[in-house]
Amino acid sequence: MNFVLIAEQTLNGLQLGVMLFLLAAGLTLVFGIMNLVNLAHGALYMVGAYLTTFFYQQTGSYALAVALGLAGTLVVGVVTELVALRTLYDRDHLDQVLATFGLILFFNELIVILWGRAAIYSTIPEVLAGHVELAGGFRYPIYRLMIIVIGLAVALLLWFVVTRTRLGMLIRAGASNRAMVAALGVNIRLLYTVVFGFGAALAGLAGLLAGPIYSVQPGMGELILIQVFVVIVIGGIGSIRGALAGALIVGMVDTLGRAFLKPALATVLSPTAADTAGPAIASMLIYLLMAVVLAFRPAGLFPSAR
């Protein structure tokens, strides 16, 4: 177990955590402010990946493709909110689950109609495709480092917006007491649309970052959405600080578990037992973690004050 491997796995965990944070931040904002369970968040992630891949193929410029992809996802998110989600704010959570599940099916089939059922080819520009030498023989892909940097930058940006701007103040107020904010003369509908658009853009950003390393295919959102829900539950619903903490914890636990649980078990159990138990427990680890956290802190680690 050398230092380089541990450092590399730590970076991997950080990168996975940052990816989960980008998705969790949007989802928790929407749930916390608007009290809306949005299962279709994964669909917006998929839309971001597809749009960016498509524009990159068409224009050949990665920067332009990213800008168009983000803008496109924002537009899709806002349109979805105006057309489908407006009616759901006052409804029961179960109704919201049903409706947004229907949206998932709708978006998946729309993608199939537009781009076909097969996974499409998505890549990154040559300049990002290399490695960087970090310390004594330790090489790490530039692209994954970039994801970590972008994710932390977004976290910083969100912190700034939520704590230092007027919009952030409205968001925090709306999370505490929606009726009072409306009574004070704030256009709550506009606020909701802005928040939802913001969440959609974050999901789109996660999608376009994930596209080249994962597979861009219909239904790609559902695969990662389960982990995002685990992050939100652990972190506390409605709290961005909770989303960041939860995402980093889940990313680290999952990565380090997959990497080191089997060798660790092999020191106490027989090799064959470790061979079967290791992968099995590693895949359950984040759910076990969620159960443990909920047992001690039912509202999550950093619940937003309500």
Partner: protein
């Protein structure tokens, strides 16, 4: 008066419904079950395209009878597959059920179909149970037994004297079978055997572990979307040049368009390749490309095409008398049709005895074309599966 007219009318309509199926006997009905939804639907699409091409080549008359093919979607679920099969048997009264990609779906559907006295022609899944103790005279397959393909890779790597191999597969029945089949013929040193979560998207942690162990070669089984993701991440981590990557069912004509140059150099073993030289295969691949916009078929398609040709040979042998099931069994055992793999012979358990080749992914004919897979050498000649001895059928 009105009551009598109504009951007379009802009686007439009822008789019409009962009489209708009687006319259907002159037609041949084949039920084809595959996956047509979700990302794996791309495999079902290839199989359906190949079935339609086979029907075109036979001028829509399989065995000389007007044919109707009814397609069913199993959604990768055994219970849905079973439901679809039952609907085909009871409602459509099909004479043959064919297809099925997944072993778990096959294990649910095959007994249902053969139990009803109908032929089950498998065109992909080859679970060891159906090759061994559960073999059945109404079950024939045009593909292979699951273990055979990794056995071929194991033999190739054993013959080349490769040591220190790192194994990876998803943690489910087929994943374990693939590595078991590999180890049946590969007796060299294995560095580690790693099972990942089924459907896992991010392999960076496993790739880092792999690099730290410094193996001489890597052997993986990652079908479908998992393969695309693993290949991209393996390539982007810069491991392509460091550790040669061998695989089964990971890279094929369906996944290459999604990974492109990340698949270059990949070695796989398979019973068939698009460049296999025999008249039936050249016709199949050539006409497939013409009919479907330049796309190359995969082995799933080749197996499905052969399935229809097998049914054709059987129905032709009994001169369209679909009631003569014993005659059709005897005809299918002879396998007297031009297969896309060349020579075709059945073992005692109704699984083919066939060659296995080593395929390499090389650059396409033009700089912008996708990579293609080409045969490098023959690994096994007339290879039998390992479970046939457990089958009690004798003929």
């Amino acid at each position: 008066m009105r009551k009598t007219t109504r009951s007379l009318l009802a009686g007439l309509i009822a008789t019409a419904f009962i009489a209708a199926p009687a006319f259907g006997q002159q037609k041949l009905k084949i039920g084809f079950i595959s996956t047509f939804s979700g990302p794996q639907g791309v495999i079902g699409e290839d199989m359906k395209n190949s079935v339609e091409l086979a029907l075109d080549h036979l001028k829509r008359k399989v065995g000389g009878l007007d044919t109707e093919v009814i397609y069913g979607d199993d959604q990768v679920k055994p219970d849905v597959g079973k439901q679809v099969a039952e609907e085909m048997l009871k409602k459509h009264q099909v004479n043959f059920v064919a297809g099925i990609i997944w072993s778990n779906v096959m294990l649910a559907v095959a007994p249902t179909v053969t139990g009803a006295g109908t032929f089950m022609i498998g065109t992909n899944a080859g679970p060891n149970q159906l090759a061994g103790a559960d073999c059945n005279e109404m079950f024939f397959t045009t593909s292979w037994q699951n273990d055979q393909t990794p056995e071929a890779m194991g033999k190739y790597m054993q013959d080349k004297g490769i040591q220190d191999v790192y194994l990876m597969a998803p943690n489910y029945a087929a994943g374990k079978d693939m590595l078991t089949g590999f180890k049946r013929y590969f007796k060299g040193r294995i560095v580690d055997e790693v099972y990942t979560r089924l459907g896992q998207t991010d392999y960076q942690a496993e790739i880092s572990q792999l690099r730290s162990k410094n193996p001489k070669a890597v052997f993986v089984f990652y079908p479908g979307g998992m393969g695309i993701q693993f290949l991209k991440q393996y390539s982007e981590a810069g491991l392509r040049g460091l550790f040669p990557l061998y695989s089964v069912y990971t890279v094929d004509e369906l996944s290459i368009p999604a990974v492109k140059h990340a698949a270059l150099g990949q070695l796989e073993t398979r019973y068939w390749s698009q460049d296999l030289k025999n008249p039936a295969n050249e016709k199949f691949v050539g006409d497939y490309r013409k009919k479907y916009g330049g796309k190359t078929p995969s082995y799933y398609g080749a197996q499905s095409y052969d399935g229809i040709m097998l049914i054709d040979s059987a129905v032709r042998a009994v001169k369209g008398n679909l009631a003569d099931k014993k005659g059709m069994i005897a005809a299918m055992r002879k396998a007297d049709f031009a297969s896309t793999r060349g020579k075709f012979k059945y073992g005692q358990n109704h699984f083919p005895i066939e060659n296995f080749y080593l395929l390499k992914t090389v650059a396409g004919p033009t700089p912008t074309a996708d990579p293609v897979m080409e045969i490098q050498e023959t690994v096994f000649k007339d290879h039998k599966d390992a479970y046939g001895t457990a089958c009690k059928m004798k003929w």
